[in-house]
Subunit: 231 residues, 8 copies
């Protein structure tokens, strides 16, 4: 019997996760050495799973590339992916539309982290960038697109007002992602985070500052419920 | 043509909301006078909508009761509801299961706010209270129930660790609600809020401290996507 | 020669202020005894000035009423005013339009503090309440009124997004007033305050949480510049 | 018919802004790549508008310079401007005096950001630097100059007391800009920000920490009201 | 040999303090029961020392009055004193001038706590109230009085700018006391505290929010140095 | 087979805890109704366990007293205990000395919460109150007593310096409990908490603000290790 | 007679510490120059003690290596050790098992700081890394190992939920170490710190963020109590 | 008549300060360019005053050295001084003893900033470093020295407990300086700052984090009072 996790000393790789969560363990690179990232990636791959590594810099990518020829680096998203030909069912494909919208251009890295993660999880993604509330006609003009999506991920820094406004206009589940974009009293994303948590428009839930990955997984877990319904 | 909102001086009641959001405007009573609450309730009712008023104390209820005989007070949830016989389609019924779980007994008022709101919105709710991480077998013994739900609302104060643990065990969308239960360094819910935002288990999104209402509406907006799929 | 201030022991009443600021010293009652408030009011009145006292409860009003028969209590605004027939030029009348708008009904006390102060200072005020971003058509439908104003005071609690949205739509100077309306992560107005400070729409400046008085005086000082131009 | 915004992928440039706000969209460079800044600048220019880009480092300037020969770099202000000969009416010239004063020498970059922005918007600016409260005679000696201005922008870090003191002396609208100048318990501008928000002298409104640009636009929007009055 | 402290169960009264600090142990009543306050007061008195109890409400006073007939209640200062005829040398009399100034009337309780404590310690106190920066001529007109003092205690809430301004005008040691007077972003005295800590005028040191007692003892310890010099 | 927990609707009482933790589930009363507290107490008692309920006010006690005649109220500690004659082994008696010391008299309620809990758990407790650093001879004179204890619980509010000083003098494990005693910049215990976490003397660990209960259980878990060693 | 400390100008090396605390003074390198570290190390060594220096970078190590040939650098732990052959009794050997567990791989540096310190103090350490709550089976599978330890050090960043979960499962004293691992609303370890302080599972005490050293010394001081009991 | 200040564009040098404060304007270099520092230094020197520049790096020193040959750089203190032979009376010499003590070696830069400033102002300084509370005998052994000083400056980071302990032992005025030394929950000096503000030992006042300069000037202003008494 295969063990549920594999102990490689500095890490215990969770091979049981696809069964519990529908997709394999992913790697958060930010405070790991390139060698650690590469070793974990290799361990996941060896079990026949796809690999997703977030917050990866180029050094981490090069270390992974050495051991996994199929590794690909998404620069803006700071993500490494490697799709394993042995995998047929993991991540379980869930073909549904989500929209990812940003308030500004500076929110792009977070948006791409969400988009690349969502695509890795089998979702179809529409990107709609720079539609912040300072020029609200840009948002209103795109409402039809947003209404076609099942879930909308809204990404904003500074005052983070976009989810509130959108929440008043559509009835889709909105996953709000505050970003650390801003200066002064934005306090590295705290301002946008509080704004989103206090939204007077209901139907909004929030993930951590700059957490594009988490927003995409939340969207995936929502869409899987539809999938299971046989749609 | 009916106007989209009705101006009653101190408020502009949004009669267009059912069309945009699928359910009528609700009343947040916390900083309104009983007279204001009653007047807004009456205005909503007059248009043929159901009434939901949150954070209502007994005084607000009595004021509403005078003008709406059908008003009912949910004491633990601090909610007033009044179901309008004229309403057939609003809130649009979405019959799906959600689970609402709490870490402790002290989280009950928030849990009931979520449960009563969800039931008002047509959802079928299973309550599972006091399954916090200090005795994790209580959670594990109930996993099967949770796996049957489409969405799980997890409510916890103090250290707020329950969503993280549950997020590692199931693949449902989890809406985490931090509560202000606790003392000292819980800083009125800040500790639980930060815990939930930083969860290492993905598939979790967070609403404001004590915001049972918001969690229920988020769950409703998710389940409506399934509904539309014709399930 | 009249002295520039009058020493009454616990206070030094600044009789020179009308000359420097265009209106007499006002009384902030919140942490003064009713007797102190009444004594200061009397001292200002005796010099022939009008009296404005903010954050006044009913006890303070009754104390003032005993010594100034003309005192009037504005309950929602928590303001005492007494208009002195001897005053012809103070506050200098500046007849211009300002609009005071609120995001919700719960923001009324702050809005009335601003409105009563502005009227005391000779401004013509239009009130527009409960036009928050959760139902943005209520705002858009009233844009014409706002465009007629010289200055717009925008009052909002919770996530405080209204000034940002309005700032993208009109070119008037916007004075944003965060309120302590909200719960949980609103942290008694901190959330709305940060939102307003970080607004991505320029042409907005912010006063202290719940400071309707300060917003009105800022509007007055702006309008006085127009006045001086001989308009 | 010209479209109201132009979609260049990572940004949606708002060409309708001059009509709504009186001046074209400006570029906040801080978290954009030089290539993105240059592309947005070019798009604005191509429509016949002037270009203003704030928080620009030399790299961003060089990228803009390549595509816009007329680009000019204001080093202390960290601003790029490019004046478009095709523009006759945008920004609408508003020739009025404003004073920009700083508490210390270290506040210069913020002051210059305000000054260059104001000049770009057609305002006449008087600079008065290093008149902080530690040597208040420097302020008092310059009161006459300040009294001639229509609006005064006051810039201060550390304890940020200058707007309060000035607010007691003159009746002009004061726009207070806290700066991140200081150390220890200045908490990167938080101390000055709180000071300014709590000012006991009315007639003061505050913008974000280090937000010289926002202060200038607020001043411009005030002065435009006078302009419209035909002055 | 007399023991250096006396154990009364819930407290260990420090009878050695007069020798080390020049004055007897004082009682901070805020979180003690009236019975505890009375018992400690009695213990100090029995050793022949004077009694000073701060943050005392009327209940605490009545309990002390029962056991010490000479107890006197200073209402505004919330202080109980009882002067012991047996005491000749404790507190050691230090007759020098200090000035206690406040920015506003609402700062009086803190000012009186400082003044009564200072007088208990043998200092000669001049009170100068309500000379805040919003009307700076009130301060300037009293500079001569302040220049005669050896130490100046400056008490201010809200933005707390008074010590900075005074620090630029005189060369006396300034002890700054922030008060919790204010609202909104004053955060119960945090704003004034940060202002005073960041003062750009040197020669200022700060004590805890509302700590009039501590400021008086600091002043006393400074004046004792002069005394020892034989002045 | 007995079930591991008992579901009473609003709570799931954890009957397995004695086996896992060595003592039965305890009741945190602060945010429960008296009826809920009484019901849980009864459920624990019915299984033959002892009852401990913390943060109990007199109302909760009266409700418990009605259903458990043996209930006893420790007023200062705000604790209800009920010792069950059926219990022989739970909590497992661990007879060892601990010392509980406080910096001041105002820390007594927290100290008694720790002491009563520890005694309930079978520990022998020595109380030593009011030995704070302002009169350090009181501490030094009692060092011998502290050296006899196996574990020292140190309780302090305000600046919370006592654990650091003691940590430099003895080699016992020190459990530090910050209290909310203080005012102004103590921020309800935050100051003492930070002090204790940053202690330069090692051998100190910290529990939540005012958490006397938690400190006692930590001490108990340490002493149980000695017990198991057969001492 | 040997003096109790040695004054080397910038430091006073505490040679009495082994007698008071059971182990020699250790060196916190973070804000000392390499020359200062080397000089203190040499002074400790010269008295015949072992040397432990924490938060040491390679530069500090090279400086120490020059004066102490036996110095050894533990890279991941950032610790320098030098074992002195003259030392027989210091640190007093205490041979007992402790377990050090981490939630993730990124927590390794803190875990190694704890482990190397504990080994230096004579403890036997079992390392168990990457058993965080996102895959709780990894923890449950290792419970037997943890139950054999006398003390468990639990190290976690992000939401820091691991100590709470473990505290519900075992009855060992748990020393919780929050780490600065995380991003956004982890606020450099604040989130994990608050989680651990608010744990609903008793028997947990907390040390400073990233303070592996302090956790090890706390464990050592606990185990010494067992040692003294003659076990 | 000499003007009271000199306008050099980016600064207004306050030549009147020696008369008001007893010593010339000093230069805070942290956010000024080397050229600005040099120009201000030259302006002060040209009036015949001594020069003191704090927070100066080597670049600033080299710029000053070019224009003032007598400039001297105090590396640890990060201070530039230049003593002007033309100055006889400024700063007014005040020959009295102060002690500067630190809790640890890492506090040296702040201590030297205080010491060099104090010496520049004519004070006689005794340095006593590394006497923190973890080894309190080092403090107690030096009490006699401290008792000879008129004023004691106490400098400490981390938990910052030293002033409290010392405040219980001596009756001198204590100026407490929190430093940013520490990690984790020290929050860059906030922990030490709060500790010092909440000290239970009276006779302590606090300056900003790392503000050695401010402490020295406060000491100087105290000692000048003695001087004036003719001692």
């Amino acid at each position: 019997m295969k063990k549920h996790y594999e102990d490689i000393g500095f890490a215990k790789v969770d091979h049981h996760r696809p069964r519990r969560k529908g997709f394999p363990e992913t790697i958060y690179c930010a405070e790991k050495t390139p060698a650690q990232v590469a070793k974990i990636a290799q361990t996941i791959w060896a079990r026949g799973h796809n690999v997703l590594a977030t917050r990866a810099d180029r050094k981490a990518f090069l270390a992974v590339k050495k051991v996994l020829k199929k590794a690909h680096y998404h620069e803006t998203a700071r993500i490494i992916t490697a799709l394993n030909p042995k995998t047929t069912r993991d991540p379980r494909p869930v073909t549904r539309d989500i929209s990812i919208i940003t308030a500004g251009t500076a929110d792009l890295p977070v948006a791409e982290e969400a988009a690349v993660t969502a695509e890795f999880l089998g979702l179809k993604v529409e990107r709609l960038f720079d539609v912040g509330v300072a020029g609200i006609h840009r948002l209103v003009n795109n409402l039809d697109k947003l209404k076609k999506a099942r879930v909308v991920i809204v990404i904003a820094g500074m005052e983070g007002a976009l989810p509130s406004v959108l929440g008043g206009l559509i009835d889709k589940p909105i996953i709000a992602v505050p970003t650390s974009v801003g200066y002064g009293a934005s306090f590295k994303g705290l301002s946008a985070l509080l704004t989103m948590l206090n939204s007077c428009a209901p139907g909004i839930a929030v993930v951590n500052i700059d957490n594009g990955f988490g927003a995409a997984v939340m969207a995936y877990s929502i869409l899987k419920q539809i999938k299971r319904s046989g749609l």
